[in-house]
């Protein structure tokens, strides 16, 4: 059996990739995808602990996260489409109106 640590390290690496993607990419769609990465890294952690501790609570949480992620993806994509129609760009640096 693969030790728990392996899963945790993998999840941490995937989460970090997601964070970096959110912070540095210049395309909203890619940023959205990076958020999915982060969510799934968390899911992976939940599953690993669930298995390790022999509890179903982690798996329940995963279902919640999946449902929320699906909703989030839909709304996020819808916003992205309407933003693109307005401004013909998806670069977050072009969207800095909301400031002093």
């Amino acid at each position: 059996m693969v030790p728990l640590n392996y899963y945790l390290i993998l999840a941490a690496v995937v989460f970090a990739i997601g964070v970096i993607g959110v912070l540095i990419r210049r395309n909203l769609i890619v940023i959205l995808m990076s958020i999915e990465l982060m969510l799934n890294a968390v899911n992976l952690t939940f599953i690993a602990f669930s298995r390790y501790l022999g509890s179903m609570a982690g798996q329940v949480a995963v279902f919640f996260v999946m449902a929320v992620a699906a909703a989030e993806a839909i709304i996020g994509l819808a916003i992205i489409i309407s933003v693109f129609r307005q401004r013909q760009t998806l670069d977050p640096q072009e969207m800095q109106l909301l400031k002093w």
């Binding site: 964070v19 959110v22 940023i31 640096q93 909301l98």
Partner: protein
């Protein structure tokens, strides 16, 4: 000594006397357009007529030593301090009621004709009714605070009506002047009220009620009474146009003529005299104030009469004449002859209203001409106006058996009897000047040949009945109103009997009738000289009126220019004040006040500028901040464990 035991009776009818004109105000304010000019005017007249009828009824029922009271509700109730909104009618108020509603009603009728062609007719009647309401409030109030409300209310109406034709800047400025000058007096008035109520309150009597005040007046020290009465008198000088605050009244002639007759001759300007008579128990205890009042009254009477000698504007002559006659009233009040003062208020209301309405009739006939040099010979064109004007002129000059004869002689006799021979002499000379300037006016306007220009001449006509009838009524009053107060050597005074329970007896009846008759004859001689002088200078030929104007001596120019009082006030008070205001408006406000406010703002702005930089609007920067923060927490908590 004044007795304080009056028969007080509740009487619910009283509240309707002021309320009916107020109702007419409301009706005309909201529905005048639907009613139309004619109906609105009729509503206004009917309301004052109803008040007059009620006043007559109340007067009929009132015993001389009785007081009717109508408590509507408690207005202020704070601890032991309580002020009612309530009305009271005693002998003094009843007289004022009849003056206000009686003369007011006649002038309302006259206004139907005078203002008939004016676009603002309904507005005029709304103001006029509102004035009647406030004036009734003033005379019917049973406490000082409600009196003050009426006092300020009539001031407001006066302001509104002086500036009635507001499109002309001069009228608006005249209204402003009246308002501001009155404010100065009212400042003293309200300080007097404060001092009175706090000083009595400190001794456990919190009240403004006249009867209560009269009961507790002995609690005050003479010095306090002196100060209170001085402050109250300051209010009276403003409202009743006495030196030094008389300057607004001549300018107030900018208003329509019925307003001059009602507000600036018959009723409002006598409010000061009424107030002093109402608080006679206070003033009687302040001999210093009383002598000041007498001196100011006499000085005003003399001073204003000398100005009236040379004025050429028909209404200005009457205005200065009013100031002068008000001076007589204060002279009487100052010699503690309150009954005589109110008697002159009463007779003056008739003949001065008659004179003003007559001058209005003349101005109306000449299409707005007010310069007496462009009148003359109107006797032939306007017989009714002429005869009523003549009667009123005789009355104000003090020809025997007219109203002015009785009241003016009573005042002079009281002054003489009071021992103030100098004051009496001033009054005597003033009587001569009064006769001169009034007959000068009569000759210039009605006698000689007509000097009106072609346009005015074509317009010449006798006024319609709606205007001449009030003149006739007032002319009758100008003769018979005085008969109530005849001296003892004729048929005796009903007036004194009526007011005696209020002011007390002893208003100089002990003096010998022979002295009184002698003084009267002396007055008549002076008056005759005045009339003859006017006849010699202006009566014989119309030409001389024009020729004499212009090339005259120093005294003439002083009088013609009103002793430059307006200019002196302008230099002494108005200019320094406006300069001061300008300094504050142009330097202190923009530089210092605004500078402080703007300084705080730009300081805050400078600080915020430092931190503004981190709000970039870029979501990724915020996310990075979030990450750093989370990591920092993580490091902190992990480091702790």
């Amino acid at each position: 000594m004044v007795s304080t035991d009056f028969a007080i009776a509740a009487y619910d009818l009283l509240r309707w006397i002021p309320l009916i004109p107020l109702l007419a105000v409301v009706v005309n304010l909201f529905w005048s357009r639907a009613l139309g000019n004619k109906t609105a005017g009729a509503v206004a007249c009917a309301a004052v007529g109803a008040s007059l009828a009620l006043s007559l009824y109340v007067f009929w029922q009132l015993p001389s030593n009785g007081i009717f009271r109508d408590v509507v509700y408690t207005w202020i109730d704070s601890g032991s301090f309580k002020v009612n909104l309530s009305f009271q009618v005693d002998a003094l108020t009843a007289v004022m009621l009849l003056i206000v509603t009686g003369v007011g009603f006649v002038i309302h009728i006259y206004s139907l004709g005078y203002m008939g062609h004016d676009e603002g007719m309904t507005r005029f009647f709304v103001y006029l009714n509102l004035f009647i309401f406030f004036m009734l409030l003033l005379v019917m109030s049973d406490n000082l605070l409600l009196l003050f409300v009426g006092w300020e209310g009539v001031g407001l109406c006066s302001y509104l009506l002086i500036g009635f034709w507001y499109l002309d800047d001069d009228n608006a400025i005249a209204g402003n002047k009246a308002f501001v000058v009155n404010r100065i007096g009212d400042f003293g008035f309200i300080l007097g009220i404060f001092l009175l109520v706090t000083d009595l309150g400190r001794q456990g009597v919190w009240t403004l009620d006249f009867l209560e005040l009269q009961k507790h007046v002995q609690l005050l020290t003479p010095a306090t009474i002196g100060l209170i009465t001085l402050l109250l008198f300051a209010g009276a000088t403003g409202k009743s146009a006495q030196i030094p605050l008389f300057v607004w009244l001549p300018d107030a002639m900018a208003g329509p003529t019925p307003v001059s007759a009602l507000i600036h001759a018959a009723t409002m300007v006598t409010a000061g005299v009424y107030m002093i008579a109402r608080l006679h128990f206070l003033f009687a205890l302040a001999p210093m104030t009383l002598s000041l009042i007498a001196w100011i009254g006499a000085a005003t009477a003399f001073f204003a009469a000398t100005i009236a000698l040379t004025q050429n504007d028909i209404k200005k002559v009457l205005a200065y004449s009013t100031v002068s006659q008000l001076g007589y009233m204060f002279l009487a009040a100052g010699t503690a002859a309150f009954g005589a003062a109110i008697f002159h208020v009463f007779t003056h209301a008739f003949f001065k209203a008659c004179l003003f309405l007559g001058s209005g009739s003349v101005i109306h006939a000449l299409d707005g001409e007010q310069d007496m040099r462009k009148m003359g010979g109107l006797k032939a064109y306007m017989p009714t106006t002429y005869w009523t004007y003549l009667i009123a002129t005789l009355a104000i000059a003090g020809i025997p058996l007219t109203a002015g004869f009785f009241s003016k002689d009573l005042i002079l006799w009281q002054a003489f009897h009071h021992g103030a021979v100098i004051l009496w002499a001033i009054g005597l000379i003033t009587a001569g000047m009064t006769a001169f300037y009034m007959f000068r006016q009569l000759f210039m306007v009605f006698h000689g040949e007509c000097r009106a220009d072609a346009h005015a001449k074509a317009h010449l006509h006798e006024s319609p009945a709606v205007m001449t009838l009030p003149l006739i009524v007032l002319a009758i009053g100008s003769i018979f109103a005085g008969w109530l107060g005849a001296p003892e050597y004729l048929w005796g005074s009903r007036w004194d009997h009526w007011l005696q329970p209020l002011f007390g007896a002893g208003e100089a009846h002990e003096g010998s009738a022979n002295t009184e008759i002698l003084l009267t004859l002396l007055t008549l001689a002076v008056v005759a000289v005045g009339i003859y002088a006017a006849y010699a200078k202006y009566g014989r030929s119309a030409r001389s009126a024009e020729e004499t104007a212009g090339a005259e001596g120093l005294l003439y120019r002083l009088s013609y220019n009103k002793y430059y009082v307006d200019e002196i006030y302008d230099t002494l008070f108005v200019r320094p004040f406006t300069a001061c205001s300008r300094f504050f408006a142009e330097f202190v406000d923009p530089r210092i006040i605004d500078g402080m406010v703007n300084g705080v703002a730009s300081f805050t702005r400078g600080l915020s500028w430092v931190w503004c930089g981190i709000q970039t609007g870029n979501v990724q920067h915020y996310a990075a901040g979030l990450l750093v923060g989370t990591l920092a927490f993580l490091v902190y908590f992990l480091g702790q464990s």
